[in-house]
Amino acid sequence: MTRILLRNKLDDCIAAWQKAGFSVLAPVRRHEMSSFGEVQKASDMAFDLVLPERTIKDHFFPQTEPLIKYKISKHQIDSETMTPPDQKRVFFGVRPCDASGLAIDDPLFGWDYKDDYWFKRRENSVIVTIVCTEADDFCMCTSVKLSPDSAKGADVLLRPLLNGAGWQVEAVSERGTALLETISPLLQENSEPTAPLPQVAEKFDVEKVMEWLADPASFESQFWKDIALRCVGCGSCTFLCPTCHCFDIQDEGDTYQGIRRKNWDSCSFANFTMHTSGHNPRNTQSTRWRQRIMHKFNYYRGKFGVNSCSGCGRCTRQCPVDMGITETLQAISTLPR
């Protein structure tokens, strides 16, 4: 016997969490875009999405974030540190790839310096993952050794019931156990079977890819020039990626006062590595695309022991010229050696 949550209890569930001080976020379709947004009732949620267009990363590492407010006067500088809101949040209906993305980025944000902006939000958030029952042509979690029912990054794991009436519920962290306690009267014992997982074919051999990338000879390979020829150099793949985490610090204001902000930045942009002198060490799109792949499947793994990709496939799904990690890694794993 396991515990289940019925769909028709979801409104009560949201109310219970709100009563316990949480705001509830779930996949929503708003203004012709799907993303995670705050919901008040079950009917606000878009359950039919394989994956929202935007990642939950947006709610932990927003595209622009104020850090410091400052004022410069003749003899002194006043500054005020701006901290992220400490609102407790439940993220309901996160896909395993997006939840994994958070776990993949944790070591990065806590490495030489503990990024409060990230960790405060992480500590105040409970991730309720819903296991996938559908995949599309771009899903590739299995290729990066995750799966449609991976519990990585999750606090609670929900498995859809075969009859569609609800989900089998399992806490996979202490935070998850605590969250389930707030709704325990709404859960019931049941042994309904769960829906089968979708078949997500392995699209490349990530071990082979990693081996090739680690070979110093690969850095100058003609391969990069050929594969990146059609890359137009926009930032959509990086900004829609659940693990891309690069940012820029900008002061916004006038000479005397302003706000220092942390803004998303992208290795796809020429400005990303532009030196003050005008020299740009990555002065072509192929060197930028190489950096993105190397960072995800070579450097990041070298530093944190994990690849910086959770296989969501958004990079390809949304690319205006149909590029993406899948094609590049497929090409690498079939290179003659």
Binding site: E53, L229, F269, Q318, D322
Partner: protein, 276 residues
């Protein structure tokens, strides 16, 4: 012989004779309904070209890639009428030399039938009338009219909701053949004239800067709209700006390559209604 085979062999012939150094066309994409830009440098590579009704991207954007045409050699490119229109605009803005571009033209009728266009040089195409009478697809037109009927406040709210979604990935700019500036104003950072922040105000700044810069220059190919990962209806913006320019100056961008850019030239009888 179908158009795909015809253009494959023509591309191969252009490459083997050395007339062009590169052919830019379409290849198979990552799914059955996707096509992706394909670059052929050898006759063999030209055999991979795909040409069907799914080939809707405007490939002219690659012609303004830094350094591509600086050796004076020719490049052939697969273009629909909107791509040919882009070439006219680029020539009139002195960004392309007409003799460097070989056009493998095609048209898609009713979203299904694909037919080759005659002519290989830009001067072979007279698309002026066709462009004048060009209206956006019905659903776009309908939406444009709906916005027109809104009050100023409603209209502002409409665009605020859309621009609030913008993430400043600049996909709209990167796929646009008219966005050829080596350094876009938003990338000029000494000083940073336009904020890089992607808050609603910053997003307004970016989208308005682009709208102004495209007024009277847009080829209406819809590439920006298709590229936008957060589904901002960008072609509505550019359609409206284009209409404004037609009404004010009787100027429709890209009718031919002899046009003088509307905002970089003047006529004695230009309206002066905006001058107080």
């Amino acid at each position: 012989m179908g158009i795909q085979e015809q253009y494959r062999s023509e591309a191969a012939a252009l490459l083997s004779s050395g007339e062009v150094k590169l052919v830019i066309g379409f290849g198979a994409g990552s799914t059955a309904d996707r096509r992706r830009p394909l670059f052929a440098r050898t006759p063999d590579e030209a055999q991979k070209f795909v040409l069907d009704a799914a080939c809707i991207a405007n490939l002219s954007t690659y012609l303004v890639t830094e350094g591509l045409l600086s050796d004076g050699k020719k490049v052939a490119v697969f273009l629909k009428p909107d791509g040919i229109r882009s070439i006219n605009i680029l020539i009139s803005e002195a960004q392309l030399k007409p003799e460097q571009v070989v056009i493998l033209g095609y048209a898609i009728e009713n979203g299904k039938e694909i037919t080759p266009l005659e002519g290989r040089n830009i001067s072979d195409f007279s698309i002026g009338e066709q462009i004048r009478s060009l209206t956006p697809p019905p659903h776009i037109l309908q939406e444009a009219e709906r916005i027109e009927e809104m009050s100023a406040t409603e209209r502002f709210e409409f665009w605020k909701e859309h621009f609030a979604k913008c993430i400043k990935c600049y996909a709209c700019r990167q796929v646009c053949p008219m966005c050829y500036c080596r350094r876009c104003i938003v990338d000029v950072n000494q000083p940073q004239w336009v904020s890089t922040s992607s808050h609603t105000l910053g997003n307004f700044e970016w989208n308005l800067v682009r709208a102004f810069h495209l007024a009277g220059r847009c080829a209406a190919c819809g590439a920006c709209d298709r590229a936008c990962p957060v589904n901002i209806p960008l072609r509505l913006v550019n359609y409206r700006m284009g209409k404004e320019v037609i009404d004010a100056f009787d100027y429709c961008a890209g009718e031919n390559s002899n046009q003088k850019p509307v905002l970089a030239s003047f006529k004695q009888d230009d309206p002066e209604t905006f001058i107080l």
